[in-house]
Subunit: 297 residues, 2 copies
């Protein structure tokens, strides 16, 4: 029986240690900017994206070190997006990962710049000798392409614009799904793609894991929406009920709570089917898929 | 006699055309995000950084096409920094390049995301086949490194944090100079570095052009400060007197207006000396250096 808790804890520790080392080695200035970057980056996130990146590398025969720095770059991009998303001009959130949001702990200007700096540092890391010396150049460029596309104006940022635009506007389920794929799914798929490439996966494995990623990414969002309705703020580390307050379009608001749960289960089934011919090195990915819809935070 | 006006106009047209093509080819979604990116990117900037990049490539025997896409990526980074800098949480500026700032033409959330998207697109471009197919991989990685370092938390963004932190606080000339090197100088030096590398320059030429870049970058900032005191808002395309209102530390406020002008001239002299053994392919760089302190906008 695969022990997911100890797997997640062990990988989370590796990611956290590497993130801390990167902050120390790449930023010599000690000041407000570094403090704000450190504050948000080291605030104890779930590290789902970097763990998926590492697990994807392992699933095709690679190991954690093959993908660790790339995984950290992706977590930096995820963190920057949270910092900017929390700002008053966007969601105006007060709590993130159980702590005051970056702009409350520091100030708005510092939070915005800390986000900018984490995004920039991610690309500095993705093109650094630590990564490119160990991998084929074309793989490294392909990964920068995949991540920048997933995070950019035809990925995560377009998803965020749609999320804001769609507030208080009735939309279809298909519009909601496209928006969520852009906002969270694309970067999750890119995390997995990067892991498979760095782990030495085949083109077929890449395609299979992309389907896996697309399905768990969507399931992750459906669960996030459900937690915003039914979750415990103390466990989640941020306020609940906010989507409803902001009249956001969510799976529960469009499909109802029960149908959303059925849908999430179906997505996880699809994800597992996509990798059903993978060997036991993919047990972590299977366990993560099951965990995504059962999580309480 | 080198005709700087027609040189700048011709390069500016090349840069503008390429930027427009990149927006069209890389962004298929037509919506608010693309409109805001387009609005700020195509608002008619001076294009100093991309022109320096191209001119640096030419000065060592390369041509415009060698550096054009990289030059465009740098202009995207510069534009993103302006959009974020103009936001209410930062400088709260109303005019930029003679038009309402992005957050006034759209809204704060859209402006922030358009900035994020331009930064991300810059790295997408720097790792795209258009650039990497024509150049050695190590040069491409080196350029991404140089640009991300210059734009990041030990470059431009650190400069912006210091700029905010130093407001209303007396600082020394050396602190002011460090701040300005970080805020504007570093990206100018990186633009020139990228151009020389792409144009096939030698290590010696790189070092010489870095000195040139450092000096004109600083002179550019001194002149910017002077224009904020003495310039014509109609020509500059933004309000003047704002530094004084915000109690910003500037060269005129620390050295006085006359000494600032003397200092700017000395910097330009240093820049020209650094490349005095370069042939007439560097006439553009020489003319740009002289133009920087004479400009009225």
């Amino acid at each position: 029986m695969f022990d997911l808790d100890s797997y997640l804890n062990s990988k989370r520790r590796r990611v956290n240690k590497a993130l801390k080392e990167i902050l120390e080695s790449k930023i010599s200035n000690k000041g407000r900017l570094k403090s704000a970057m450190d504050y948000s980056l080291m605030a104890g996130g779930k590290r789902i994206r970097p763990i998926l990146c590492v697990a994807a590398a392992e699933s095709v025969g690679g190991n954690t070190d093959d993908a660790l720095y790339t995984a950290c770059a992706i977590e930096m991009i995820h963190t920057y997006s949270l910092i900017h998303d929390d700002l008053p001009a966007m969601d105006n959130d007060k709590l993130r990962r159980g702590k005051p949001t970056c702009h409350l702990a520091f100030d708005e200007a510092t939070a915005m710049l800390a986000g900018d700096a984490l995004l920039t540092l991610a690309f500095q890391l993705l093109s650094s000798i630590e990564i490119i010396n160990e991998n084929h150049a074309s793989n490294c460029f392909g990964i920068i392409q995949a991540i920048s596309q997933a995070a950019g104006c035809e990925g995560m940022i377009e998803g965020q614009i749609r999320d804001i635009t769609f507030e208080r506007t009735p939309i279809t389920l298909s519009q909601l799904q496209d928006m969520h794929y852009l906002k969270t799914g694309a970067l999750i798929v890119a995390s997995i793609y990067a892991g498979v490439v760095l782990g030495g996966g085949t083109q077929k494995q890449i395609e299979q894991l992309k389907i896996y990623g697309k399905n768990i990414g969507l399931a992750f969002q459906v669960t996030d929406d459900l937690l915003n309705v039914e979750g415990d703020p103390a466990l989640i580390g941020k306020a609940t009920g906010t989507d409803d307050l902001l009249h956001k379009n969510t799976y529960p608001s469009l499909m109802g709570i029960d149908q959303s749960k059925v849908f999430a289960k179906k997505l996880i089934k699809n994800a597992l089917q996509a990798i059903d011919n993978f060997d036991n090195k993919s047990d972590s990915l299977r366990a993560i898929a099951n965990y995504i819809i059962k999580r309480k935070k």
